[in-house]
């Protein structure tokens, strides 16, 4: 399936309704946390249809053709109206031919309502002369043809279309007459006249709906990824996290879950890394130690603590327990394995001579454990949402407060979720961030602040009803939200200098 909407050439595509609504305003209510970086809108199915219909109507008027032809042409040109009109005005015949639209004498044969329409004129069923089908080689009088007149028996035509629909999915709208070199696109009339299984016909009909290809072919539009949600999201190219009105959050670019602040590429890399490495890394961490001399990972596969490094250039003999050289463990030597020596910890050769691979492993694990920690905590926050409802009811019972008074708890919970959600990906982002530099320091400072605030909020919300104070909670989650915004803005500024300009939102990060 087509992934990242990186297909160039559609940039100039005009979305004429672009300016009819003020996206800023709508978004303000639904998405308080990232208002500064948000520029997307949610469109429902009827709005999508209206947008597509408008385009088709304009083309129909411009080219003076039927609505059906206009829809086919727009679909063929992937809604690039400029390109279509330019080529159409240059050579209309060529464009029509390429789009599979019939010109010239209509030789269509379609069975419907007990009769058969030949070139548009109805005649009784069974009045056709026998013809040999080019697919099954059987002779019959029960056949159909598109405007081109290439006849195939109805059984073969039906099987042919069923295969096309199964194999090509929504691309079945581009299915052409089975005859080689004939580019005529199958018509809805023909498809509906044949005894296709209902599920196949449903796919064909869906595929033909203009808003489907309108959204699919428009790089600024995407269907919500939630199963059964018919909404589409409009966002500028390169936009990442979006949230549908159904609650589904996803990345506009890669269709995966919303992963701000890390990029799609980083997420993909991270996921592959976690899949490939985590198990190996975990095993290495729990079952091996680095050779104190050369830092090769060593597994202890016997009971004896006397280890000899298998690295042929090292062959260091050491004690598995204290990692000290084995020679001092020999009888008569000064055996200090059982004593804790803080000085030794400092000069521990392991720390100094850490092989880069082991250091990399530890570095990865540092980020991985924090990533998974937040990831797992998220599950609890979802549960907490349900519990919060109960808490609110409890509060109501205690008197003096109404349900409205307590909704701030829901907001707080929502904020907590948002923060945790973003926090997990800050670790992916940080993992791929180059070491050192001012930006990293700045980023980590923001990350720390956000994390502290998030934990504080989390703790606060887990308290008993009697211990929850509104002012405290509101202050805490507002702070958390601000910190999240600051962090995301910081990343956005670094990422693409222009990313924040489009938001037109409130100013740069400022510490509250």
């Amino acid at each position: 399936m087509s992934e990242a909407g990186s297909s160039d050439g559609y940039d100039e595509m005009s979305c004429s309704q672009e300016d009819t609504s003020d996206p800023e305003e709508e978004i303000f209510d639904s998405e308080p946390i990232r208002q500064q970086t948000q520029t997307f809108t949610v469109l429902d199915a009827s709005e999508c249809l209206a947008l597509a219909q408008k385009e088709v109507d304009e083309v129909r008027e411009l080219l003076c053709c039927s609505e059906e032809v206009a829809s086919i042409l727009m679909r063929q040109f992937r809604w690039n109206r400029e390109k279509l009109t330019e080529e159409y005005l240059c050579d209309a015949d060529k464009v029509l031919k390429r789009a599979g639209i019939h010109q010239g004498e209509n030789l269509e044969i379609v069975h419907a309502d007990g009769a058969v329409a030949v070139g548009g004129t109805s005649q009784p069923r069974g009045s056709l002369p026998d013809v040999q089908c080019l697919i099954c080689y059987e002779t019959s009088a029960d056949y159909s043809a598109l405007g081109c007149g290439h006849q195939f028996c109805n059984t073969c035509y039906t099987t042919f279309l069923a295969h096309k629909i199964t194999d090509e999915g929504y691309n079945c709208v581009f299915a052409t007459c089975p005859k080689p070199e004939c580019s005529l696109v199958v018509s809805e009339r023909l498809v509906h006249s044949l005894a296709l299984p209902a599920d196949k016909r449903a796919i064909f009909d869906k595929a033909r709906r203009i808003e489907r290809s309108y959204v699919d072919d428009n790089p600024n539009l995407k269907w919500c990824t939630a199963a059964g949600c018919g909404n589409a999201i409009r966002a500028p190219k390169g936009h990442l996290g979006v949230k549908c009105s159904c609650g589904q959050r996803f990345c506009f670019k890669c269709n995966d879950e919303d992963h701000a602040p890390c990029s799609c590429e980083e997420l993909a890399k991270w996921m592959v890394k976690c899949r490939d490495d985590s198990e190996t890394y975990n095993w290495l961490m729990s079952n091996t130690k680095a050779c104190p001399k050369c830092a090769t990972s060593i597994e202890k596969n016997g009971g004896c603590n006397h280890m000899t490094c298998k690295n042929s250039s090292c062959k260091f003999e050491f004690c598995w327990v204290c990692l000290g050289p084995w020679r001092i463990h020999r009888a008569g030597s000064y055996y200090s394995c059982n004593r804790y020596d803080p000085e030794k910890e400092k000069e521990n050769p392991e720390a100094k001579k850490k092989d880069s691979s082991r250091a990399a492993l530890e570095r990865y694990l540092h980020y991985y454990t924090r990533f998974t920690n937040h990831h797992n905590s998220l599950k609890f926050e979802v549960e907490a949402r349900a519990k919060m409802e109960e808490k609110i009811k409890e509060m109501e019972k205690q008197g003096d407060k109404t349900w409205i008074d307590c909704t701030y708890l829901k907001d707080a919970n929502e904020a907590l979720y948002e923060c945790r959600y973003a926090l997990q990906y800050t670790y992916v982002y940080a993992f791929y961030l180059p070491q050192g530099g001012n930006f990293r320091t700045h980023f980590e400072m923001n990350q720390t602040e956000l994390e502290q605030q998030t934990e504080q909020l989390s703790e606060m919300l887990e308290k008993d009803v009697s211990e929850i104070h509104r002012a405290e909670v509101v202050h805490c989650f507002t702070m958390a939200k601000t910190r999240l915004t600051n962090l995301l803005e910081l990343v956005a500024v670094r990422g693409s200098g222009s990313a924040t300009d489009t938001s037109g939102g409130a100013g740069s990060s400022s510490d509250p």
């Binding site: 059984t155 099987t159 295969h163 199964t166 194999d167 005859k179 919500c224 990824t225 949600c229």
Partner: protein, 180 residues
Amino acid sequence: MSASGAFPAAAGTSSSKAGAPAPAASGQSVNKRLQSELMSLMMGGDAGISAFPDGDNIFQWTGTITGGAGTVYEGLTFKLSLKFPTGYPYEAPAVTFNPPSCFHPNVDQYGNICLDILKEKWSAVYNVRTILLSIQSLLGDPNLDSPLNGHAASLWPNQADFKKALLKHKSSLPSGERRP
């Protein structure tokens, strides 16, 4: 994967070949069509091409083509294996040179053939006869833009050298069937 939405990504290729649509008894209709193709091939008498099912299995044929007159392949015969899917003729048969004795720019070392009508340009109207004729004409008229065998493609402009390589290649294979 959660890619679905209002218009879930409808089945792509290969998704449900096994449970293919097949209204009515498709196995029987494929059988029927292959029988009638066999009939017309035997009656037709096209020069330089022939095909016949392997034993009792109507879904597996062996074809033979002879190089066209005036080409480097003149007088040489090649055997092909044709495997018909249950979706035939709506799906193309798998056609390979077997044994892989054909040295040609559009044929790889395993006998796979790069020919559009066997892939994206396949049409239910094509049949064994048109396939064999197309491959026969491909022999003398290769598509040098998309070679599967780069060595053969680079030799092609010099027909004398190409012929030498072709004969060497053909004789390097044991005459018997090399692959089942």
